[in-house]
């Protein structure tokens, strides 16, 4: 392991009281947009999987993380300082836009919370992408880095207060605004949301071959 470059923290950018973007050295690390890694403080006993938030073209790696109480790895990363070392492994996963030909297609991205990370990566990496992003959050402040998305393509479904584009959950929104069946649909978030959205989109006529899922735990 000694010949591997050390990944040092460049910055920790706080978005809310618990959510932050950690930026680390990329070195020669290569990954496809949409993939994830395992990440943790150097020599820490545990790590966690995080989707890459930055674009493969960025000279750094970024991760969007929520530090909930009891989430030891995320909380430790939240406290990281520039120059601290982190351990990184990967990349993993097949939740990506594989075939350049399909970039001409229309996409539907559905995420809850920090499940938006791979879509942020897609949007940065493929600026020409024809997408619609449905983002479920609890509070208005959870619309992380809102300016990075084309405003007309981004819908914030805010469940606990007014001020978003839609008041309610992503499933409520999709019931009122059914998906077009030709969209290639990517769903990212917790297991129950993924299962519910999948069923909803199938009921709305999206073929199962057009549904890709990434589940958080």
């Amino acid at each position: 392991m000694s010949d591997k470059p050390r990944h040092l923290v460049q910055s920790v950018r706080k978005l809310t009281a618990t959510t932050f973007v950690i930026r680390i050295d990329r070195h020669a690390f290569r990954a496809l947009a949409g993939q994830h890694v395992t990440l943790g403080p150097h020599q820490f006993a545990i790590n966690r999987e995080f989707s890459i938030y930055s674009s493969p073209g960025d000279p750094y790696l970024e991760f969007l993380i929520i530090a909930r109480p009891g989430s030891e790895t995320a909380c430790a990363l939240h406290q990281a300082k520039p120059g601290d070392e982190v351990d990184l492994a990967g990349p993993y996963g097949e939740f990506f836009i594989a075939d350049p030909g399909v970039r001409a297609r229309r996409y539907l991205f559905v995420a809850t919370g920090v499940g938006i990370a791979p879509f942020h990566c897609f949007v940065r990496h493929f600026p020409e992408l024809d997408y619609r992003l449905i983002h479920g959050v609890s509070r208005v402040e959870d619309r992380y880095d809102l300016a990075d998305y084309a405003r007309e393509r981004y819908v914030a479904c805010v469940s606990r207060e007014e001020g978003g584009d839609f008041r309610g959950r992503v499933t409520d929104y999709l019931r009122e605004h059914p998906a077009e069946s030709d969209r290639l649909c990517y769903i990212c978030g917790h297991s129950a949301m993924v299962a519910n959205v999948y069923d909803l989109l199938r009921d709305q006529g999206v073929p199962s071959d057009n549904l890709l899922t990434e589940t958080f735990f």
């Binding site: 395992t38 545990i46 790590n47 009891g70 989430s71 129950a192 589940t215 735990f217």
Partner: protein, 500 residues
Amino acid sequence: MKVAISYPPILNDRGQVAMVSQNRNVQYFKIPTYLLPVVHAQAATWLRDIGCEVRWDDGNAQQKSFDTWYAGLLSWRPDVVVFESTTPVMKFYWALVKRIKGDLPKTLVVMTGYHSMRKPGETMRACAADIILQSNHVDFVLKKLIPYIAEHEDWRETCEIEGLFIRVDESKVRQTGTFKRVEDLNLSPDVDRDLVEWKRYAYENGNYLRTPGTYATSVIRDCTFGKCTFCRYNGPDLTFSIRSVEKSLDECQRLIEDYGVREIFDDSGVWYRGEQARAFARGIIDRGLHKRGCYFGFNTRFAYLDEETIALLAKANFRFVLVGLEAADAETLTRLNKGYLPHQARQNLEIFTRYGLHPHLTIMVGYYWQTAEQLGATVSTVRELMFKGLARTLQVTICTPLDFTPYHKECVANGRLLTEDYNDFDMSKLIVKTPIPHEAYYQAIRDIYGVATDPRFIARQIRFLASGRGRDWEFLFRYGWRALRRVRNHVYNLTSQGRD
């Protein structure tokens, strides 16, 4: 509809029985080990609940000979028989399906399992199976499929349930699209213990310190991590699904109160972590189940559980923690996509044992790149961990490419496979080209299992008695002789053939 969910007794020429239902791998065992196939048991329960006549037909656990098992199946005359496939028994199944189709031409054969789901065309060509499930959610698919078949004579042409390969006629097979990867496991029922005759699985299983033991209905289907290249639970077609903590707690309570279970093991690829793990432990404590004489156990992986969670699990009377230590060198762990580093294995074991848990290491040897130095590191690390009491039990397997996992595909692509005969994929011998002679890996297996009779290991177990924990006394005096018997069996299985 009459549906048989069948596990035929499959004996090799050495009189060993194939454990098809073992998650991730299959092995032939002489000393019986009965493993409840949980997802298929849920499928049986669900089908029974919706009105099917179900035959739980595990010929191994029911200790039947093949002839007795087969005669029983024929006389029952099922409308549908369901099998679970995995690489080393595929040739057996293809021949069996042919025989069934000769004796029961109207019976539909459904193939499930990780081999046929990844190569459905191969099984369709090799035998007369009617349907192949590409979904790992056997319970969810069968619950939709069986009623559909019952209600539609033209089901071969019209069925649109996702994730199926259907034989339309002698020349045509059709596919019904990608299956749903994430299911809400709360919808699938708990295993009906009476239907599957749970006591048949309650004693002969090395994971239990106390008996009767049982497998819980898994809280996670497949694996939350799902990246290890050698594992079935890996691939673009697979992710994990999850069951609620409350539902799982309810089942544990029933198992303890209604069935008198004394050890519950959850064979999820990787069990809960984080908040769910803590909520589960708190639930066990809040319900007083930690004081009912029942131990709990699960599979996990290194770098997954933090100390606060482990402390809470120990308080809730968790004991057995099964964790993979696939190698002791970083290069191999990286190539296997394990997502942890050697130092994390040691750190995690120190925390597990600090709180009195009994870590069980699952070790593998025989990767096609594994050098003498890497192999030696595995052996010396494992022996040291065992002598220091940082792990309590272990098992070693030969890493065998199976079921078209990434490791299997890698072996094929790199020309490392020594055989294409599926019968050789039974984990009893190395079947890949390696940089050092195969005998070195067999010797490593003997050296690792040799720990069990090493005075340093025995002395460490005796020192554990000073902890005052009842489980340490039970471990030494009740479990010890059983473990020794199994060690001899494992060494025989893994080192006595394939070296001619």
